[in-house]
């Protein structure tokens, strides 16, 4: 087990493209780090550099306190699980798992013991003599993990391992990976584009865009206090609503159906109200809900959600809630309501706006407006 430090790491390709523009990340021994972002943000490149599969242009990568920039992959004490599983097609499962052990000259007896232990942990003892072509997607993924576990490395690297699985299998495997982390206590770096995986699996999340870490922190922290518009919109599903409008001493101007209503700011945000300032109000769907649910969940005595009569454009029943869509400030906002309280499309209903968890963004810089601004 080891810690991982990434200091001022840059990656520039020979053709001049600067894919990583200065990454600084520190995770402690045993932590689960998620690198999440859209395609092209540089997360896979960073993972490859941690693995030693790609050279570092600038900066340092430290595993367990040692600089590993020039250490080849096989000597970094790492294991990697790939999106396409990358199982050796001409070898059986047993041979796939013991391939790396053989290269390290682990004695045959020990190899056998390790393979059997790993197979039992992942419940694939009955698959040991099969070849990859005879396995299902989920089984192949398990073999790929087994190969990594057999190495008993200081650092586990996962490169979008669940992307090729169907939705149901993805949920199952997610749980298995989480259990594995709890059981082995290993340090993990996990790359994904799926923000649900990021939120459910990670101890720390690094949200990346355009080769830069947009925000680094715990899942809840990033969810509640996104640093900028990109992070706010990326994490959370359905995504956060962004309403552009004017902020005055009376609160946020909400326009709906031709009429304007004022939403007073909660105590936390009130100091930020400068007269006549243009802002983007970020408010999550679960904070625009039906009046009954809002009253039932009222937490603070000093602030109550503002209730407004709104006309519903469209509804999407999901089972536990019904998502209700309405036009505010020219934007179709998603609101999470109780199925029984949701009105029919075109009909009015009372929606309660709870701004206590809302976030304000500067429309120009797209950064969150906090006390220091």
């Amino acid at each position: 087990m080891a810690s991982l430090s990434i200091r001022k790491v840059r990656k520039v390709y020979p053709n001049g493209a600067e894919v990583l523009k200065g990454i600084d990340l520190e995770i402690a021994d045993g932590e689960f780090l998620i690198l999440v972002g859209g395609s092209g943000c540089g997360k896979s490149t960073l993972l490859n550099m941690i693995a030693g599969l790609e050279p570092v242009t600038d900066g340092e990568v430290l595993i367990g306190g040692k600089v590993v920039n020039h250490v080849p992959p096989k000597s970094r004490d790492i294991a990697m699980v790939f999106q396409s599983y990358a199982l050796y097609p001409t070898m059986t499962v047993r041979e796939n798992i013991s391939f790396g052990l053989g290269i390290r000259k682990v004695p045959k007896g020990e190899q056998k013991a390790i393979v059997e232990r790993v197979a039992e942990t992942l419940q694939m003892t009955h698959l040991l003599d099969r070849k990859p072509a005879m396995l299902s997607g989920g089984q192949r993924q398990r073999v790929a993990m087994g190969r990594a576990i057999a190495r008993d490395p200081a650092l586990f690297l996962f490169d979008e391992p669940l992307s090729n699985l169907d939705a149901k299998l993805r949920v199952e495997m997610r749980a298995e990976i989480k259990l594995l982390h709890q059981r082995l206590g290993s340090t993990i770096v996990y790359v994904t584009h799926d923000q649900i995986e990021a939120m459910t699996l990670g101890d720390k999340i690094a949200v990346m865009k355009d080769g830069v870490v947009q925000q680094f922190g715990s899942p809840q922290d990033i969810y509640d206090n996104p640093a900028n518009l990109f992070v706010a919109g990326f994490i959370g599903s359905p995504s956060m609503n962004f309403l552009r409008g004017r902020l005055t001493a009376d609160g946020f101007a909400l326009e709906h159906g031709g009429r304007t209503a004022m939403l007073p700011l909660p105590p936390a945000l009130a100091p930020l109200a400068a007269a006549g300032r243009d802002v983007i109000l970020g408010i999550r769907p679960e904070h625009i809900t039906d009046a009954d649910s809002a009253r039932a969940g009222a937490s603070s005595a000093s602030y109550h959600p503002t209730e407004l009569e709104c006309t519903i454009e469209m509804t999407e029943p999901t089972g536990p809630d019904t998502l209700v869509f309405a036009l505010f400030n020219g934007v179709r906002a998603t609101c999470r309501t109780h199925p029984r309280s949701a009105a029919l499309p075109g009909r009015p209903m009372t929606l309660a706006f709870d701004l206590s968890k809302a976030v304000l963004f500067d429309p120009v810089t797209e950064q969150r407006i906090s006390q220091d601004h």
Partner: protein, 285 residues
Amino acid sequence: MAAKLTFGRAALYLLLALCALYYLMPLYVMLVTSFKSLDEIRAGNLLGLPAAPSAAAWAKAWAGACTGAQCDGLAPYFWNSVKMAIPAVLISTAIGSINGYVLAHWRFRGSEIVFTALMVGCFIPFQVVILPMARLLGMAEMANTTAGLAFVHIVYGLAFTTMFFRNYYVTVPEELIKAARIDGAGFFLIYRKIIFPLSLPIFMVCFIWQFTQIWNDFLFGVVFGGSDAQPVTVALNNLVNTSTGVKEYNVDMAAAIIAALPTLVLYLVAGKYFVRGLTAGAVKG
């Protein structure tokens, strides 16, 4: 969807059958002529079956016909071809395989240029290299030897074999190589334990394609083979085109079939690899 036997389809089948006859006709004629006696050939007609089939022409073609100055039949030159072709095929394929592996998975700065330069080499007319090559072989005392001929075929076969393997290895996912590197395998171990076991189909294609090209070659054979090391194609041409004495058409045809037999049998047995070689090599070209 089963097609009904309409007039259109009947006409289609008829056309296809006629075309089949067109392609089979020369082979049939060769066979039939080789079993006839000279009198029968002169008297009878091209497509007629032999009245009294005799294998005399075959025996003569193999062991007694005159190919220029020698009258030992095709046999010695058939073996020349074997001695020349087999090493050439094996070596050019082996080198092509490793080259293809490098170009597919171990790219470095300039490797794409190397690949393109190699490909362009596929297209040159060999007339433009045979003069210096003849000089080189002469200086190396390999002129008119089987080894020299094999060498030439290896050198000029590398472009094709490399291309076959590179196009095939490119379909092996990069992640497989990455996983092996993390497991600790180096350049040669990855080839031996991962790439090579996957390569059976492309080895078949390459062997068959290369053998056919090399066995059927005439230009290199006639320029670099001299009289002792000449391959069977050159001997056949000498046999068929000698103007001394009476033309023995049955011997000519028997000789042609003998020369064609190895590649023809290879085609019949492993034809699908032939087609794969065509589409893999040509369409990518």
